[in-house]
Protein backbone atom coordinates (compact mmCIF):
# COMPACT_ATOMS: atom_id res chain seq x y z
CA UNK A 1 0.00 0.00 0.00
CA UNK A 2 1.20 3.49 -0.79
CA UNK A 3 2.33 5.38 2.27
CA UNK A 4 1.34 8.93 3.06
CA UNK A 5 4.00 11.55 2.54
CA UNK A 6 4.29 14.76 4.52
CA UNK A 7 3.77 17.27 1.77
CA UNK A 8 0.69 15.99 0.01
CA UNK A 9 -1.76 15.47 2.88
CA UNK A 10 -0.76 18.74 4.55
CA UNK A 11 -1.27 20.58 1.29
CA UNK A 12 -4.71 19.03 1.02
CA UNK A 13 -5.87 20.42 4.37
CA UNK A 14 -6.81 23.91 3.19
CA UNK A 15 -8.28 22.49 0.01
CA UNK A 16 -10.53 20.13 1.95
CA UNK A 17 -11.60 22.91 4.28
CA UNK A 18 -12.54 25.21 1.44
CA UNK A 19 -14.46 22.48 -0.35
CA UNK A 20 -16.50 21.84 2.79
CA UNK A 21 -17.16 25.54 3.31
CA UNK A 22 -17.95 26.04 -0.37
CA UNK A 23 -20.51 23.25 -0.28
CA UNK A 24 -21.99 24.68 2.87
CA UNK A 25 -22.13 28.07 1.21
CA UNK A 26 -24.79 26.89 -1.22
CA UNK A 27 -27.95 28.44 0.10
CA UNK A 28 -26.11 31.01 2.19
CA UNK A 29 -26.38 34.77 1.86
CA UNK A 30 -29.12 37.23 2.65
CA UNK A 31 -32.65 36.38 1.65
CA UNK A 32 -34.64 39.03 -0.09
CA UNK A 33 -38.29 38.68 -0.88
CA UNK A 34 -40.57 41.31 -2.26
CA UNK A 35 -44.30 41.27 -2.43
CA UNK A 36 -45.60 42.85 -5.61
CA UNK A 37 -48.01 45.55 -4.43
CA UNK A 38 -48.66 47.31 -7.71
CA UNK A 39 -51.31 44.80 -8.80
CA UNK A 40 -53.31 45.06 -5.55
CA UNK A 41 -56.48 47.21 -5.43
CA UNK A 42 -56.41 50.45 -3.46
CA UNK A 43 -57.59 49.94 0.11
CA UNK A 44 -61.06 51.31 0.78
CA UNK A 45 -62.24 52.00 4.32
CA UNK A 46 -65.69 53.39 4.95
CA UNK A 47 -65.26 55.89 7.82
CA UNK A 48 -68.88 55.30 8.79
CA UNK A 49 -68.28 51.64 9.63
CA UNK A 50 -64.60 51.64 10.61
CA UNK A 51 -63.89 50.50 14.13
CA UNK A 52 -60.86 50.05 16.32
CA UNK A 53 -58.89 47.52 18.31
CA UNK A 54 -57.67 48.49 21.75
CA UNK A 55 -55.94 46.74 24.56
CA UNK A 56 -52.88 46.60 26.71
CA UNK A 57 -49.84 44.46 27.24
CA UNK A 58 -49.49 43.23 30.81
CA UNK A 59 -46.37 42.04 32.55
CA UNK A 60 -46.64 39.44 35.32
CA UNK A 61 -43.93 38.45 37.76
CA UNK A 62 -40.92 40.38 38.93
CA UNK A 63 -39.66 42.99 36.54
CA UNK A 64 -36.03 42.30 35.62
CA UNK A 65 -33.51 44.90 36.69
CA UNK A 66 -31.85 46.41 33.65
CA UNK A 67 -28.06 46.72 33.93
CA UNK A 68 -26.17 49.97 33.53
CA UNK A 69 -24.49 50.24 30.12
CA UNK A 70 -20.71 50.51 30.28
CA UNK A 71 -19.94 53.34 27.85
CA UNK A 72 -16.37 53.82 29.08
CA UNK A 73 -15.02 52.68 25.70
CA UNK A 74 -16.33 55.95 24.30
CA UNK A 75 -16.25 58.80 26.86
CA UNK A 76 -18.09 61.15 24.49
CA UNK A 77 -21.09 58.86 24.73
CA UNK A 78 -20.77 58.63 28.51
CA UNK A 79 -20.64 62.41 28.94
CA UNK A 80 -24.01 62.85 27.28
CA UNK A 81 -25.81 61.11 30.13
CA UNK A 82 -26.31 62.88 33.46
CA UNK A 83 -27.02 59.52 35.06
CA UNK A 84 -25.63 56.28 33.65
CA UNK A 85 -27.80 54.89 30.86
CA UNK A 86 -29.47 51.56 31.43
CA UNK A 87 -30.31 48.78 29.00
CA UNK A 88 -33.80 49.06 27.51
CA UNK A 89 -34.39 45.40 26.73
CA UNK A 90 -37.31 45.09 29.17
CA UNK A 91 -39.11 48.17 30.48
CA UNK A 92 -42.00 47.44 32.81
CA UNK A 93 -44.24 50.44 33.45
CA UNK A 94 -45.38 51.43 36.94
CA UNK A 95 -48.91 50.12 36.15
CA UNK A 96 -47.57 46.62 35.49
CA UNK A 97 -47.62 46.87 31.71
CA UNK A 98 -44.84 46.30 29.23
CA UNK A 99 -43.36 49.05 27.08
CA UNK A 100 -41.94 48.73 23.57
CA UNK A 101 -44.21 45.95 22.38
CA UNK A 102 -45.05 46.09 18.68
CA UNK A 103 -48.74 45.25 18.17
CA UNK A 104 -50.23 44.85 14.69
CA UNK A 105 -52.88 43.16 12.59
CA UNK A 106 -51.07 40.10 11.41
CA UNK A 107 -53.82 38.72 9.22
CA UNK A 108 -57.48 39.14 8.33
CA UNK A 109 -57.33 42.25 6.17
CA UNK A 110 -58.38 41.88 2.55
CA UNK A 111 -55.35 42.16 0.23
CA UNK A 112 -55.06 45.82 -0.71
CA UNK A 113 -52.55 48.56 -1.27
CA UNK A 114 -52.69 50.96 1.64
CA UNK A 115 -51.56 54.57 1.14
CA UNK A 116 -48.00 55.15 2.31
CA UNK A 117 -47.51 58.01 4.79
CA UNK A 118 -45.73 61.00 3.31
CA UNK A 119 -43.97 61.76 6.62
CA UNK A 120 -40.83 59.72 7.18
CA UNK A 121 -40.41 57.51 10.23
CA UNK A 122 -37.38 58.74 12.19
CA UNK A 123 -34.60 56.97 14.03
CA UNK A 124 -32.21 59.17 15.98
CA UNK A 125 -28.83 58.31 17.48
CA UNK A 126 -28.59 60.41 20.59
CA UNK A 127 -26.32 59.77 23.56
CA UNK A 128 -25.20 56.62 21.76
CA UNK A 129 -28.69 55.20 22.17
CA UNK A 130 -31.36 54.75 19.54
CA UNK A 131 -34.62 56.67 19.84
CA UNK A 132 -37.16 55.26 19.58
CA UNK A 133 -36.20 51.77 20.70
CA UNK A 134 -39.05 50.14 18.77
CA UNK A 135 -41.07 51.58 15.92
CA UNK A 136 -43.25 50.59 13.02
CA UNK A 137 -43.06 51.76 9.43
CA UNK A 138 -45.11 50.94 6.39
CA UNK A 139 -43.72 49.26 3.32
CA UNK A 140 -42.00 51.86 1.13
CA UNK A 141 -42.39 54.58 3.76
CA UNK A 142 -39.32 56.81 4.04
CA UNK A 143 -37.16 55.89 7.03
CA UNK A 144 -34.98 58.79 8.13
CA UNK A 145 -31.85 58.21 10.20
CA UNK A 146 -30.21 61.02 12.14
CA UNK A 147 -26.95 61.21 14.03
CA UNK A 148 -27.30 63.76 16.85
CA UNK A 149 -24.10 62.49 18.48
CA UNK A 150 -20.59 63.96 18.22
CA UNK A 151 -19.25 60.49 17.39
CA UNK A 152 -19.18 58.09 14.43
CA UNK A 153 -21.87 55.45 14.17
CA UNK A 154 -22.52 52.65 11.78
CA UNK A 155 -26.13 51.75 11.13
CA UNK A 156 -26.76 48.10 10.36
CA UNK A 157 -30.28 47.07 9.40
CA UNK A 158 -30.27 43.34 10.08
CA UNK A 159 -33.21 42.55 7.83
CA UNK A 160 -33.92 39.07 6.54
CA UNK A 161 -36.82 39.55 4.15
CA UNK A 162 -35.65 43.01 3.05
CA UNK A 163 -32.14 43.70 1.79
CA UNK A 164 -29.82 44.18 4.76
CA UNK A 165 -27.42 47.13 4.74
CA UNK A 166 -24.68 48.64 6.87
CA UNK A 167 -23.52 52.23 6.45
CA UNK A 168 -21.39 54.65 8.41
CA UNK A 169 -22.81 57.93 9.67
CA UNK A 170 -20.24 60.41 10.98
CA UNK A 171 -21.21 63.31 13.29
CA UNK A 172 -23.14 66.08 11.55
CA UNK A 173 -23.47 63.94 8.44
CA UNK A 174 -26.50 64.28 6.22
CA UNK A 175 -29.56 62.33 7.28
CA UNK A 176 -29.98 58.96 5.64
CA UNK A 177 -33.22 57.99 3.95
CA UNK A 178 -34.07 54.34 3.45
CA UNK A 179 -37.12 52.28 2.50
CA UNK A 180 -38.16 48.72 3.24
CA UNK A 181 -40.14 47.03 0.49
CA UNK A 182 -41.41 43.93 2.28
CA UNK A 183 -43.34 43.07 5.42
CA UNK A 184 -40.93 42.14 8.22
CA UNK A 185 -41.77 42.13 11.93
CA UNK A 186 -39.37 42.80 13.71
CA UNK A 187 -35.74 43.19 12.72
CA UNK A 188 -32.92 44.78 14.72
CA UNK A 189 -30.95 47.86 13.80
CA UNK A 190 -27.54 47.83 15.45
CA UNK A 191 -24.33 49.81 15.75
CA UNK A 192 -21.09 47.84 15.96
CA UNK A 193 -19.11 50.88 17.09
CA UNK A 194 -21.27 50.90 20.22
CA UNK A 195 -22.45 47.30 20.59
CA UNK A 196 -25.06 48.13 23.24
CA UNK A 197 -27.04 50.20 20.70
CA UNK A 198 -30.05 48.32 19.41
CA UNK A 199 -33.39 49.36 17.93
CA UNK A 200 -36.17 47.32 16.37
CA UNK A 201 -38.27 48.09 13.32
CA UNK A 202 -41.47 46.43 12.17
CA UNK A 203 -42.41 46.83 8.51
CA UNK A 204 -46.10 46.44 7.82
CA UNK A 205 -48.04 46.52 4.53
CA UNK A 206 -50.85 48.45 6.25
CA UNK A 207 -51.14 51.24 8.83
CA UNK A 208 -52.58 49.11 11.67
CA UNK A 209 -49.64 48.85 14.05
CA UNK A 210 -48.73 50.42 17.38
CA UNK A 211 -45.85 50.37 19.82
CA UNK A 212 -46.77 50.40 23.51
CA UNK A 213 -45.57 53.33 25.56
CA UNK A 214 -45.45 54.25 29.23
CA UNK A 215 -49.03 53.10 29.91
CA UNK A 216 -48.70 49.80 28.02
CA UNK A 217 -51.87 50.36 25.99
CA UNK A 218 -52.38 50.26 22.26
CA UNK A 219 -55.05 51.36 19.82
CA UNK A 220 -55.46 50.53 16.16
CA UNK A 221 -57.86 53.02 14.61
CA UNK A 222 -59.84 52.98 11.38
CA UNK A 223 -60.00 49.21 11.12
CA UNK A 224 -62.61 47.85 8.69
CA UNK A 225 -65.18 45.49 10.24
CA UNK A 226 -63.96 41.91 10.27
CA UNK A 227 -62.12 39.24 12.19
CA UNK A 228 -58.41 39.65 12.64
CA UNK A 229 -55.38 38.01 14.16
CA UNK A 230 -53.60 40.54 16.36
CA UNK A 231 -49.97 39.86 17.12
CA UNK A 232 -47.80 41.35 19.86
CA UNK A 233 -44.03 41.13 19.44
CA UNK A 234 -41.46 41.89 22.12
CA UNK A 235 -37.71 41.84 21.46
CA UNK A 236 -36.98 39.53 24.41
CA UNK A 237 -40.22 37.72 25.18
CA UNK A 238 -41.22 37.01 21.60
CA UNK A 239 -44.58 36.71 19.88
CA UNK A 240 -48.14 36.26 21.13
CA UNK A 241 -51.32 36.45 19.15
CA UNK A 242 -55.08 36.47 19.58
CA UNK A 243 -58.22 36.88 17.49
CA UNK A 244 -60.66 39.79 17.61
CA UNK A 245 -63.80 40.67 15.72
CA UNK A 246 -64.45 44.31 14.96
CA UNK A 247 -68.14 45.09 14.52
CA UNK A 248 -69.18 48.01 12.28
CA UNK A 249 -68.16 51.21 14.14
CA UNK A 250 -67.26 48.98 17.08
CA UNK A 251 -64.28 48.60 19.32
CA UNK A 252 -62.72 45.23 19.99
CA UNK A 253 -60.45 44.68 22.96
CA UNK A 254 -57.63 42.25 23.55
CA UNK A 255 -54.97 41.89 26.21
CA UNK A 256 -51.61 40.26 25.99
CA UNK A 257 -49.61 39.07 28.95
CA UNK A 258 -45.88 38.48 29.18
CA UNK A 259 -43.99 37.33 32.23
CA UNK A 260 -40.49 36.67 33.44
Amino acid sequence: MRKLTLKRPLALLPLALFLVLLLAACGGGPKTETQPQASLPEAQVDPATAGSVTGKVLFTGTAPVMPVIDMSSNPQCERQHKTPAKAETVIVNSNGTLRNVYVWIKSGLAPAKWPTPTEPAKLDQNGCMYAPRVQGVMEDQAFEILNSDPVNHNVHAECERNAAWNESQPPRAEHKFKKFASEEVLFPVTCSVHPWMRAYVGVSPHPFFFVTGDDGTFVLKGVPPGTYTIEAVHEKYGRKEGKVTVAPSGTASIEFSYGS
Binding site: L4, L6, K7, L17, N152, N154, C191, V193, P195
Partner: protein, 291 residues
Protein backbone atom coordinates in the same frame (compact mmCIF):
# COMPACT_ATOMS: atom_id res chain seq x y z
CA UNK B 1 20.81 18.34 -3.42
CA UNK B 2 22.05 21.76 -2.28
CA UNK B 3 22.76 22.02 1.44
CA UNK B 4 21.10 24.88 3.23
CA UNK B 5 23.01 26.88 5.79
CA UNK B 6 21.46 28.49 8.83
CA UNK B 7 20.52 32.13 8.36
CA UNK B 8 19.96 33.70 11.77
CA UNK B 9 18.28 36.80 10.34
CA UNK B 10 15.71 34.82 8.37
CA UNK B 11 14.93 32.57 11.32
CA UNK B 12 14.43 35.50 13.68
CA UNK B 13 12.32 37.26 11.11
CA UNK B 14 10.20 34.10 10.80
CA UNK B 15 9.72 34.06 14.57
CA UNK B 16 8.64 37.71 14.48
CA UNK B 17 6.19 36.89 11.68
CA UNK B 18 4.72 33.97 13.65
CA UNK B 19 4.38 36.12 16.78
CA UNK B 20 2.70 38.95 14.86
CA UNK B 21 0.35 36.43 13.28
CA UNK B 22 -0.66 35.21 16.72
CA UNK B 23 -1.33 38.83 17.69
CA UNK B 24 -3.43 39.11 14.53
CA UNK B 25 -5.46 36.05 15.57
CA UNK B 26 -6.01 37.66 18.98
CA UNK B 27 -7.07 40.94 17.32
CA UNK B 28 -9.47 39.04 15.05
CA UNK B 29 -10.91 37.22 18.05
CA UNK B 30 -11.46 40.58 19.76
CA UNK B 31 -13.35 41.90 16.73
CA UNK B 32 -15.76 38.95 16.72
CA UNK B 33 -16.16 38.77 20.50
CA UNK B 34 -16.92 42.48 20.75
CA UNK B 35 -19.32 42.37 17.79
CA UNK B 36 -17.17 45.02 16.13
CA UNK B 37 -16.95 43.34 12.72
CA UNK B 38 -19.22 45.85 11.01
CA UNK B 39 -18.16 48.95 12.92
CA UNK B 40 -16.23 50.03 9.82
CA UNK B 41 -18.65 49.48 6.92
CA UNK B 42 -16.20 50.29 4.11
CA UNK B 43 -13.11 48.42 2.89
CA UNK B 44 -10.22 48.72 2.11
CA UNK B 45 -10.43 52.24 3.57
CA UNK B 46 -12.01 52.88 6.96
CA UNK B 47 -14.66 55.63 6.96
CA UNK B 48 -13.01 56.71 3.70
CA UNK B 49 -9.68 57.29 5.46
CA UNK B 50 -6.47 55.47 6.20
CA UNK B 51 -6.86 56.33 9.87
CA UNK B 52 -10.38 56.83 11.26
CA UNK B 53 -11.04 57.99 14.85
CA UNK B 54 -10.20 54.98 16.99
CA UNK B 55 -13.37 54.96 19.08
CA UNK B 56 -15.59 52.11 20.26
CA UNK B 57 -15.70 49.14 17.91
CA UNK B 58 -13.66 51.02 15.28
CA UNK B 59 -10.61 50.61 17.53
CA UNK B 60 -10.90 46.82 17.29
CA UNK B 61 -11.87 46.55 13.63
CA UNK B 62 -9.39 49.09 12.28
CA UNK B 63 -6.71 47.87 14.73
CA UNK B 64 -7.23 44.37 13.27
CA UNK B 65 -6.81 45.78 9.76
CA UNK B 66 -3.61 47.59 10.74
CA UNK B 67 -2.05 44.47 12.27
CA UNK B 68 -3.18 42.47 9.22
CA UNK B 69 -1.51 44.95 6.88
CA UNK B 70 1.69 44.69 8.92
CA UNK B 71 1.60 40.89 8.82
CA UNK B 72 0.99 41.03 5.06
CA UNK B 73 4.06 43.23 4.58
CA UNK B 74 6.15 41.02 6.87
CA UNK B 75 5.07 38.00 4.80
CA UNK B 76 6.25 39.70 1.60
CA UNK B 77 9.63 40.43 3.23
CA UNK B 78 9.76 36.81 4.39
CA UNK B 79 9.10 35.53 0.88
CA UNK B 80 11.76 37.74 -0.69
CA UNK B 81 14.26 36.72 1.99
CA UNK B 82 13.47 33.02 1.53
CA UNK B 83 13.90 33.27 -2.24
CA UNK B 84 17.27 34.98 -1.78
CA UNK B 85 18.87 32.70 0.83
CA UNK B 86 17.04 29.39 0.64
CA UNK B 87 18.36 26.51 -1.41
CA UNK B 88 15.45 24.23 -0.58
CA UNK B 89 12.99 24.59 -3.45
CA UNK B 90 10.02 23.44 -1.34
CA UNK B 91 10.80 26.20 1.19
CA UNK B 92 10.50 28.77 -1.57
CA UNK B 93 7.08 27.42 -2.45
CA UNK B 94 6.09 27.35 1.20
CA UNK B 95 6.90 31.08 1.29
CA UNK B 96 4.72 31.59 -1.79
CA UNK B 97 1.91 29.59 -0.14
CA UNK B 98 2.15 31.82 2.93
CA UNK B 99 1.84 34.95 0.81
CA UNK B 100 -1.10 33.53 -1.16
CA UNK B 101 -2.76 32.61 2.15
CA UNK B 102 -2.30 36.06 3.66
CA UNK B 103 -3.60 37.79 0.52
CA UNK B 104 -6.61 35.45 0.40
CA UNK B 105 -7.13 36.16 4.08
CA UNK B 106 -7.17 39.90 3.43
CA UNK B 107 -9.68 39.54 0.60
CA UNK B 108 -11.92 37.29 2.75
CA UNK B 109 -11.72 39.88 5.54
CA UNK B 110 -12.78 42.64 3.15
CA UNK B 111 -15.56 40.56 1.61
CA UNK B 112 -17.02 39.60 4.95
CA UNK B 113 -17.34 43.31 5.83
CA UNK B 114 -18.82 44.30 2.48
CA UNK B 115 -21.25 41.36 2.42
CA UNK B 116 -22.33 41.89 6.06
CA UNK B 117 -20.63 38.90 7.66
CA UNK B 118 -22.01 35.94 5.72
CA UNK B 119 -21.16 32.98 7.93
CA UNK B 120 -19.37 31.03 5.20
CA UNK B 121 -16.94 33.85 4.47
CA UNK B 122 -16.45 34.75 8.13
CA UNK B 123 -15.87 31.09 9.04
CA UNK B 124 -13.42 30.65 6.14
CA UNK B 125 -11.61 33.80 7.26
CA UNK B 126 -11.34 32.48 10.81
CA UNK B 127 -10.24 28.99 9.72
CA UNK B 128 -7.67 30.20 7.20
CA UNK B 129 -6.21 32.39 9.94
CA UNK B 130 -5.41 29.23 11.91
CA UNK B 131 -3.84 27.57 8.88
CA UNK B 132 -1.79 30.66 8.11
CA UNK B 133 -0.51 30.81 11.67
CA UNK B 134 0.54 27.16 11.48
CA UNK B 135 2.32 27.93 8.20
CA UNK B 136 4.31 30.75 9.82
CA UNK B 137 5.24 28.46 12.72
CA UNK B 138 6.33 25.78 10.23
CA UNK B 139 8.50 28.34 8.40
CA UNK B 140 10.11 29.31 11.71
CA UNK B 141 10.70 25.62 12.43
CA UNK B 142 12.22 24.89 9.01
CA UNK B 143 14.56 27.90 9.16
CA UNK B 144 15.90 27.11 12.64
CA UNK B 145 19.49 26.06 13.23
CA UNK B 146 18.19 23.07 15.13
CA UNK B 147 16.18 21.87 12.11
CA UNK B 148 19.06 22.38 9.70
CA UNK B 149 21.49 20.43 11.87
CA UNK B 150 19.53 17.29 11.05
CA UNK B 151 17.50 14.84 13.08
CA UNK B 152 18.21 11.87 15.23
CA UNK B 153 15.89 9.42 13.63
CA UNK B 154 14.15 6.40 15.03
CA UNK B 155 12.47 3.57 13.18
CA UNK B 156 8.71 3.38 13.34
CA UNK B 157 7.61 0.44 15.43
CA UNK B 158 5.15 -1.85 13.77
CA UNK B 159 3.25 -2.11 17.04
CA UNK B 160 3.04 1.68 17.38
CA UNK B 161 2.55 3.41 14.04
CA UNK B 162 2.69 7.17 14.52
CA UNK B 163 3.16 8.86 11.16
CA UNK B 164 -0.44 8.50 10.03
CA UNK B 165 -2.16 9.29 13.31
CA UNK B 166 -0.11 12.42 13.97
CA UNK B 167 -1.46 13.72 10.70
CA UNK B 168 -4.99 12.64 11.59
CA UNK B 169 -4.65 14.62 14.84
CA UNK B 170 -3.80 17.79 12.89
CA UNK B 171 -6.78 17.29 10.59
CA UNK B 172 -9.06 16.73 13.61
CA UNK B 173 -7.80 19.95 15.23
CA UNK B 174 -8.42 21.87 12.01
CA UNK B 175 -11.96 20.48 11.73
CA UNK B 176 -12.61 21.37 15.38
CA UNK B 177 -11.36 24.92 14.77
CA UNK B 178 -13.56 25.20 11.70
CA UNK B 179 -16.56 24.06 13.78
CA UNK B 180 -15.67 26.63 16.42
CA UNK B 181 -15.45 29.34 13.78
CA UNK B 182 -18.80 28.30 12.31
CA UNK B 183 -20.37 28.37 15.79
CA UNK B 184 -18.93 31.80 16.52
CA UNK B 185 -20.35 33.11 13.28
CA UNK B 186 -23.76 31.56 14.07
CA UNK B 187 -23.76 29.09 11.20
CA UNK B 188 -24.25 26.15 13.56
CA UNK B 189 -24.95 25.67 17.24
CA UNK B 190 -22.06 25.48 19.71
CA UNK B 191 -23.11 21.90 20.45
CA UNK B 192 -21.19 20.62 17.40
CA UNK B 193 -18.00 22.30 18.59
CA UNK B 194 -18.60 21.08 22.15
CA UNK B 195 -19.21 17.50 20.95
CA UNK B 196 -16.07 17.66 18.83
CA UNK B 197 -13.96 18.60 21.81
CA UNK B 198 -13.73 15.16 23.52
CA UNK B 199 -13.10 13.51 20.14
CA UNK B 200 -10.21 15.80 19.25
CA UNK B 201 -8.81 15.67 22.77
CA UNK B 202 -8.93 11.86 22.64
CA UNK B 203 -7.11 11.75 19.30
CA UNK B 204 -4.44 14.12 20.64
CA UNK B 205 -4.10 12.03 23.80
CA UNK B 206 -3.74 8.93 21.65
CA UNK B 207 -0.92 10.50 19.62
CA UNK B 208 0.83 11.97 22.66
CA UNK B 209 0.64 8.75 24.69
CA UNK B 210 1.95 6.78 21.74
CA UNK B 211 4.91 9.14 21.42
CA UNK B 212 5.60 9.13 25.15
CA UNK B 213 5.26 5.36 25.50
CA UNK B 214 7.16 4.30 22.39
CA UNK B 215 9.36 7.16 21.20
CA UNK B 216 10.20 9.02 24.42
CA UNK B 217 13.93 8.44 23.87
CA UNK B 218 13.77 10.90 21.02
CA UNK B 219 13.99 14.27 22.78
CA UNK B 220 12.42 16.27 19.97
CA UNK B 221 9.38 14.04 19.75
CA UNK B 222 9.02 13.98 23.52
CA UNK B 223 9.11 17.77 23.75
CA UNK B 224 6.71 18.12 20.82
CA UNK B 225 4.23 15.73 22.42
CA UNK B 226 4.46 17.36 25.86
CA UNK B 227 3.97 20.81 24.34
CA UNK B 228 0.90 19.62 22.44
CA UNK B 229 -0.76 18.01 25.44
CA UNK B 230 -0.07 21.00 27.70
CA UNK B 231 -1.59 23.41 25.21
CA UNK B 232 -4.54 21.07 24.63
CA UNK B 233 -5.42 20.89 28.32
CA UNK B 234 -5.23 24.69 28.57
CA UNK B 235 -7.50 24.87 25.56
CA UNK B 236 -10.10 22.53 27.05
CA UNK B 237 -10.16 24.62 30.25
CA UNK B 238 -10.49 27.84 28.26
CA UNK B 239 -13.28 26.33 26.17
CA UNK B 240 -15.26 25.43 29.29
CA UNK B 241 -14.63 28.89 30.78
CA UNK B 242 -15.65 30.63 27.55
CA UNK B 243 -18.86 28.61 27.37
CA UNK B 244 -19.74 29.13 31.04
CA UNK B 245 -19.21 32.89 30.86
CA UNK B 246 -21.27 33.03 27.67
CA UNK B 247 -24.17 31.37 29.49
CA UNK B 248 -23.69 33.46 32.64
CA UNK B 249 -23.73 36.73 30.71
CA UNK B 250 -26.31 35.78 28.08
CA UNK B 251 -28.75 38.48 29.23
CA UNK B 252 -26.15 41.15 29.92
CA UNK B 253 -25.35 44.14 27.80
CA UNK B 254 -22.58 42.90 25.53
CA UNK B 255 -19.67 42.76 25.36
CA UNK B 256 -18.85 41.45 28.83
CA UNK B 257 -15.09 41.70 29.51
CA UNK B 258 -14.76 38.29 31.20
CA UNK B 259 -16.59 36.51 28.40
CA UNK B 260 -14.51 38.35 25.79
CA UNK B 261 -11.26 37.51 27.61
CA UNK B 262 -11.92 33.78 27.90
CA UNK B 263 -13.26 33.54 24.34
CA UNK B 264 -10.31 35.39 22.80
CA UNK B 265 -7.82 33.29 24.77
CA UNK B 266 -9.70 30.20 23.59
CA UNK B 267 -9.31 31.34 19.97
CA UNK B 268 -5.61 32.15 20.42
CA UNK B 269 -4.80 28.91 22.22
CA UNK B 270 -6.78 27.11 19.51
CA UNK B 271 -4.30 28.53 17.02
CA UNK B 272 -1.44 27.34 19.24
CA UNK B 273 -3.01 23.87 19.47
CA UNK B 274 -3.19 23.71 15.68
CA UNK B 275 0.42 24.88 15.34
CA UNK B 276 1.60 22.39 17.99
CA UNK B 277 -0.21 19.49 16.33
CA UNK B 278 1.17 20.43 12.90
CA UNK B 279 4.66 20.80 14.38
CA UNK B 280 4.42 17.37 16.01
CA UNK B 281 3.23 15.85 12.71
CA UNK B 282 6.20 17.47 10.97
CA UNK B 283 8.62 16.23 13.64
CA UNK B 284 7.20 12.73 13.40
CA UNK B 285 7.64 12.77 9.63
CA UNK B 286 11.21 13.92 10.05
CA UNK B 287 12.33 11.84 13.02
CA UNK B 288 10.43 8.59 12.56
CA UNK B 289 11.53 6.53 9.61
CA UNK B 290 9.36 3.81 8.18
CA UNK B 291 10.67 0.32 8.73
Amino acid sequence: MAVNTYNRGLHRWSLVLAFCTLLLVVAGGMVTSRDAGLSVPDWPLSYGKLMPPMEGGIFYEHGHRMIATTVGMFTIVSLVWIWIVEKRQWMKWLGVAALVAVITQGVLGGLTVLLLLPWWISSSHASLAQLFFSTTVAIALFTSDWWLRGAKTVTEKATAPIRGISLVASICVLCQLALGAAARHKAIGSIYHICGSPIVTSVILWVVLRVLLHYADNRELRLGALTLITITFCQVFLGIAAYMTRIAYADSVQPMPLMVTFTVFHVAVGALTMAASVSLAILVRRNVETA
